[in-house]
Symmetry: C2
Subunit: 387 residues, 2 copies
Amino acid sequence: MNRFETDLLLIPGPTPVPPPIARVLSEPAISHRGAEFAEALGACTAGLMTAFGTEGDVIILACSGTGGMEAAIANALSPGDSIVTVEIGVFGKRWSDIAGRFGCEVTPARFEWGKAAGPAALDEALRSAPTPVKAVALTHNETSTGVLNPTRELLAVARSHGALTIVDCISGLLATEFLMDKWGADIAVGGSQKAFAIPPGLAFVAVSPRGWEAIESATSPTFYFDLPAMKKTAEKGQTSYTASTTLVRALRVALDLLLADGLQAIIDRHTAMGTAVRAAVAAMGLKLFSDEAHASNAVTAILPPDGLDPDKIRSDLSKRFSIVFSGGQADLKGRIFRIAHLGPIEPYQMLGTLACLEIVLRDQGYTAFPPGAGVAAAADVLGRATR
Amino acid sequence: MNRFETDLLLIPGPTPVPPPIARVLSEPAISHRGAEFAEALGACTAGLMTAFGTEGDVIILACSGTGGMEAAIANALSPGDSIVTVEIGVFGKRWSDIAGRFGCEVTPARFEWGKAAGPAALDEALRSAPTPVKAVALTHNETSTGVLNPTRELLAVARSHGALTIVDCISGLLATEFLMDKWGADIAVGGSQKAFAIPPGLAFVAVSPRGWEAIESATSPTFYFDLPAMKKTAEKGQTSYTASTTLVRALRVALDLLLADGLQAIIDRHTAMGTAVRAAVAAMGLKLFSDEAHASNAVTAILPPDGLDPDKIRSDLSKRFSIVFSGGQADLKGRIFRIAHLGPIEPYQMLGTLACLEIVLRDQGYTAFPPGAGVAAAADVLGRATR
């Protein structure tokens, strides 16, 4: 954080928190058992239903996204249940880890990092799983590699096998299309620190009627994440245990601001920003780490030019220009850098960021592009999108 | 202001207010007669002495910069006193208006707008004034035209005629060199909403021993702006009338942040930013309104390309990109637009702004520059400045 605290946070969550939301965060605490909170919780639930594309229930939990993922597994599965997990990166693998911890029989469908999962390969994994598959868990938008899965197609495959479908759409929700009911997801998980533009601390778990059926018969132990108990309390405008009252109030303000022009406007903004960043990457002669056909509009993973250290690019951007990118996770540590374009990022912020990236690359010896070329390519996209 | 309140304010004051300063502004009120305020007032006075380059007194007033200008005239001059005012724009003319209102005999030394005042011409004006000249009032940095006067030389000329010297350095202080004691200014005026990065509401009046002498014998009526009374109260850690306590506390935080690396670092930052913007203007084939040899590093006045309306450029930037420029004032209304680079503006913000300006110019039909050229020229300057 620089002296004036004007760092630009371009990591795939937490995103920058705009002033109208920051103001709510600094307001006095309210009771989690009072009418004011009940009203906010109700409004948030309605907004989240729009975000998930569901007429089903959405439960708001006081935990990170991973807590929401555990809630999905612990509520819907029993020890010994067979689950196929779709692994295209760090967060796909997390489904395997959680399900394994709860005693499920896990069959990971693994794909090369940087690629999307193939529906045919998933079909094959489901056919060859050792026992009848109870559930499929997958990642909608894989943050670690900047890949958007063909979630609709993957869900269709899973449903054709009668599997319960569980989706981590934490980093994709609002940033990219996700239609829970239409696509046939049974349990879907979101998180507050992504395109919602509020701080971390809330997870959202959406459950379809089919999801509730599965939950009813499952036997895994869970107390804090007891979804049926939460649903019952939510009907009274409360949460089972102490709610993150201030975050819920911030979420309410955020959803009002975000949904004012409709869901599609938010998605369009993310699409333009993702397209612009990829255009800049190409114009600078850099390489995307991931398959462009399945590029995420929330985060872009980039391979540094030969001989450059991605973490040195990141530290120079931070020290010289107060701009914060993410590095690679797990096996990708030291191999890529990631620019998030998630949440309330303005075009001037991204264009300025790309100009600073050009400076840093040039100063580190990579000069294989005309100065300003990256910015101009992105400006072309954002110019058209704002016309 | 856009929905997320992330407008980028690039007008020559008020500047953006960074979070650490905004936080102070939201703190509970304190007494203007208590020890906490006295401590803050003392710290501010010390910081302002550094900003003005003076060992003399600096008085903090609860008013805008214009109030500080009135304080200078009303305290130091008497009806009938002869004053030469240096007019190179809107704010130079303001000296004439104020002095005229207080019954002074005003001889304006007028210069073409966009040009700096010439020391020889000032000398000539002083020689040809109808009566012996008591004072000279001038503008250090003329905000309306983006011109920095050769203040040091102008002050030397005024002093050579024995005149009391009064300087409006409201928009120049901290952004560009000003050495009150060394250059021989007797009364100098600053304002809070400029490079100090706090909201409007405070003026600063610095007074040399020679200034106090003049004040002692002057007879113009003033009550709210009674500088000798203010000086006496300030010695007790108070202000004569109710102080803007919250702004004073914000100023204290701002001065701590700004002066942490020394005065020269702030000036260097403004110099780089001004140079970068002018480089971009040239690379885009645009024309500076003002004489580049006397260009301000706080604000740049730009002529729109032939056939384009500067106010349409501004409104497009505001509507499409949430970036706010200033237009022309007085005779310059509808003829120029002004980009301020004053206060806590980060390189990525200015580079992104220039990219958005390129988009708007192009969309309005001005394509006489290669896309990205303006940004690249500015990036070249800012890259070197941050190395």
